[in-house]
């Protein structure tokens, strides 16, 4: 291999490194599920009659929730273990907020149900849709 060929090879290696380094990191394989008509009162209740979810493979383990409809009340949303109902994590979401809120960090295969309530004194909130990212 002559000097020119070696230089060309070196440039190719540099270009490949720059290209690979510049690529975005592998996307996390979150699964989302829409929670239709997640009706809340001031007493904690579960979505979908206690519908059970599992954390998907290929994620960082974070489970997050957002309202799809603009919520009219302050709400508290939580994740609770399927097996014994104990609280895993929760988030308070102000009225009008439709951003994702992290509920808890877990691991692939962990089973949870989604529970929620409106803040004290807020009354009930019905026919609002939300989304869980897991």
């Amino acid at each position: 291999m002559d000097r020119r060929a070696r230089q060309r090879g070196a440039w190719l290696v540099v270009a490949a490194c720059l290209l690979l380094g510049g690529l975005p990191a592998t996307a996390l394989a979150y699964v989302t599920t829409d929670l239709i008509n997640f009706d809340l009162t001031e007493t904690t209740s579960s979505y979908g009659g206690g519908t059970q979810f599992h954390i998907s493979s290929g994620t960082d383990g974070w489970v997050s929730y957002r309202w799809l409809d603009v919520p009219s009340k302050d709400t508290v949303i939580s994740g609770n273990f399927c097996s014994d109902l104990s609280l895993i994590g929760k988030s308070s979401i102000p009225s009008g907020n439709t951003a994702y809120h992290q509920l808890f960090n877990g691991f692939q295969g962990e089973c949870f149900i989604v529970r929620g309530r409106t803040a004290a004194g807020e009354g009930s909130m019905t026919n609002y849709d939300g989304r869980i990212q897991r």
Partner: protein, 189 residues
């Protein structure tokens, strides 16, 4: 003759293993099983699906939810030393009968997943676990697929889904034992 001996021994060993598998429940529960836990598991698999959209009574007090659970538990198979004393019904807010059934069934699944690993003879546990995806709270749901994967991996001895489920179930067992003791109840083994 000397060369054939190892092969003969291997055949005898294989036959012995097959007989052991058959005695311990095998891959499918035998119809009309004499094992009461397997019978309960089979009966649950044939029971009507839980309708999570149905109305029906809600239980707002922990004692009422625990009472409803206690009325249900006899239908559920459990390994020796198992119980549901550590479930936090008292922290549940509003619970429907469907939710209570779902929590009980998942809790029983967890106890059998641990038994399949910890019991000297895991045959009974694996036989019961085969039925779990068909139980009323899981049948026809997306979660049934994951439970089926976990059960298949339990039969194979390992797997990524099983790892997560076991970790979940082990952690739950620790919490349940603490909560049961706190309430003066016998923790599950």
């Amino acid at each position: 003759m000397t060369a054939r001996l190892p092969r003969l021994l291997a055949i005898i060993a294989a036959a012995g293993a097959a007989a052991t598998l058959a005695l311990s429940g095998g891959s499918q529960p035998a119809a009309g099983s004499s094992n009461p836990q397997q019978t309960k598991a089979d009966e649950l698999a044939a029971a009507p699906m839980v309708d999570r959209t149905a109305g029906g009574p809600s239980y707002t007090a922990g004692a009422a939810a625990r009472g409803q659970a206690d009325r249900t538990v006899d239908r559920l198979p459990l390994p020796a030393g198992g119980n549901f004393n550590g479930i936090r019904w008292e922290e549940g807010g509003v619970l429907t009968a469907a939710e209570i059934e779902g929590v009980l069934e998942y809790n029983a699944f967890c106890q059998w997943i641990r038994a399949a690993r910890d019991d000297a003879d895991p045959g009974t546990a694996l036989g019961v676990l085969d039925d779990v995806p068909q139980w009323p709270a899981f049948r026809g749901t997306a979660e049934a697929d994951l439970l089926s994967e976990a059960v298949a991996e339990a039969r194979a001895g390992s797997g990524p889904v099983l790892d997560g489920v076991r970790r979940d179930c082990d952690a739950s067992h620790g919490r349940e034992a603490a909560y049961a003791r706190e309430r003066g109840l016998t923790p599950s083994s």
